[in-house]
Amino acid sequence: MKLTSSNSFHNSAPKTLIIGASGMLGKGFVDYLSSIGSDFICSQRQNVDDDWFLDLNCLESINTLITQVALSGIETVIVFAAITSEQQCISDKYLSQRINVDHTCLLLKGLHEQGVFSVFVSSSQVFDHLTPHITANSSFSATTFYGKQKVLVEQFITFRRLNVAIVRLTKVIGAGFALFDSVIRQAKNKETTYLFEDYCAAPISIQHASHALLQVLSSREIGLYQVSGEVDISYAEMGSHLLQFIGSKHLVNEISSKSKGVSPVPFGSLSVYSSSSVQLYQQPFSEVLEHYFSQSEYKK
């Protein structure tokens, strides 16, 4: 019989927990925090190592994490974890509903009851994007499954007045953004590039999104925040700007989204909004490109 204990106390434990650190956004946020020397802990459902375990599909795991948060003195939590693929949201509706809505709500409610401040990362997809620069107080008009699920969580937070800030992000572009990578590759290989002329977004860089999220997280101010790119820009225009940016004379062939069975999206921007003293700004597209190349394997 061994008379030993595996328990130990960490007086200098991190005060911030990042939930869903393995996805594109979460990983980008982790990189951003690491680059500025900020201390944090992550939760993941795979490759846990030093991280905490959380499977957002498992109620027990959520309850355990909430207890762990309470015992460890975590003060702020940011929630990225979700099924983000629209296709997956549709193909397994009840699973995505469980993870993206029900369990996320239970997690946020549980954290609230522990006195923890959380940031819920929402999306501009709570709107239909039929108009540009949508204001924060506009009525929900989600057309995608994913967007509708974000609406339900936002309503849950607001109705119950949880200690949670809601941050809506427009399209986020990180390192290895597949569309940009393939445009550059096609230009190098002199292959034809086809991009939608009628499918738009108001992109922001992962660094810009991370900076805004950190500001909100640090402020601990509940309420609503909108983070957006400055311009509504089609994917064809994005490709052209990208090629111009790297000095390539390669051309983009504009095609209609309908030709590929995709519904057009005329706009993608939100009106930048902060319900507290946190200062947010619209990011110009040139800065998005700068940030993309600062992390991309493709150099300008």
């Binding site: 009840y94 509903q97 029900d102 409610k109």
Partner: protein, 275 residues
């Protein structure tokens, strides 16, 4: 908190729960599921009977939804969310039935019901409690019937018969319908008290209490879930299937004991009444 004196005397209690988030999710799942299953024909849970579906369709739907709700398992979270109520009744070591039962009783459809019975005749013990939660507020007469104080009856006569619409091991059987129910003889309508509840209220009763519904005589469909709860250390009958219960909450001392015997496995055999 629950009026325990009345509970002990009458064998049942009603209670207005404070935390309804998990019940809201169950209710929302039922509505969403019905919309997906029946399309625009479906309007509300209470008006489900107006769909005029065949018995086969109804059974298919109920079984699919029953499975979905048991994938979600929000009934267990409901107990956790309202833990103080249950801890006061059972103590800090609580087991909750692994799977819930979903009841959908359409007006005048006798086959949607189990009839008047008591669970101790079917493998449960009197140390267990059933909690029934309506998913839609019930109009007068729509709720479950109970016979107050029947948990203290010293004898009752039963007649066992085969139910033609329930096959052993078939979906309906898995949903809690009995293929060879035991009818309690000598029960009069006057003995039955119908407990109709608003959404958010629950009916808890000893499994020794006679309860049930022969037919829903109102003009709304009764939607409810129910599941059983027990103290982890209270006895079960030999007839209860393994896995019927899953631990929900453990006291600190119980956790410490578990940890000790995990580390000192050879001492485990000295225990009596181990979990």
């Amino acid at each position: 908190m629950v009026d325990t004196d009345s509970f002990k005397k009458n064998g049942f209690f009603t209670y207005s729960f404070e935390s309804l988030t998990s019940l809201d999710f169950i209710q929302a799942r039922c509505t969403e599921f019905a919309k997906d299953f029946f399309g625009d024909r479906f309007t509300t849970l209470a008006n489900y009977h107006l769909l005029e579906v065949s018995n086969e369709q109804h059974e298919d739907f109920q079984y699919a939804l029953f499975n979905q709700l048991n994938t979600d398992k929000y009934h267990r979270q409901f107990v956790l969310d309202n833990l103080a109520v249950f801890t006061a009744l059972f103590g800090p070591d609580i087991d909750v039935q692994t799977n819930l039962y979903l009841r959908i009783a359409r007006p005048s459809k006798e086959t949607d019901n189990i009839g008047i019975h008591r669970d101790t005749d079917y493998g449960n013990s009197a140390y267990e409690v059933s909690l029934s939660l309506p998913l839609v507020s019930q109009v007068e007469g729509c709720g479950l019937n109970v016979i107050p104080q029947s948990h203290l009856f010293t004898q009752h006569n039963v007649r066992q018969f085969n139910r033609e619409d329930v096959e052993r091991g078939a979906p309906k059987n898995k949903m809690g319908f009995l293929y060879a129910p035991k009818e309690i003889l000598g029960i009069t309508d006057e003995q039955l008290h119908c407990i109709s509840l608003p959404y958010g209220d629950g009916l808890g009763f000893s499994l020794g209490l006679i309860h049930g519904q022969k037919a829903n005589k109102t003009n709304m469909t009764r939607w409810s879930i129910d599941f059983r709860i027990k103290n982890s250390f209270h006895p079960l009958t030999k007839n209860l299937k393994a896995g019927y219960y899953t631990p929900l909450k453990r006291s600190v001392v119980c956790e410490m004991g578990d940890e000790y015997y995990k580390l000192n496995d050879s001492e485990r055999e000295t225990l009596i009444g181990e979990l």
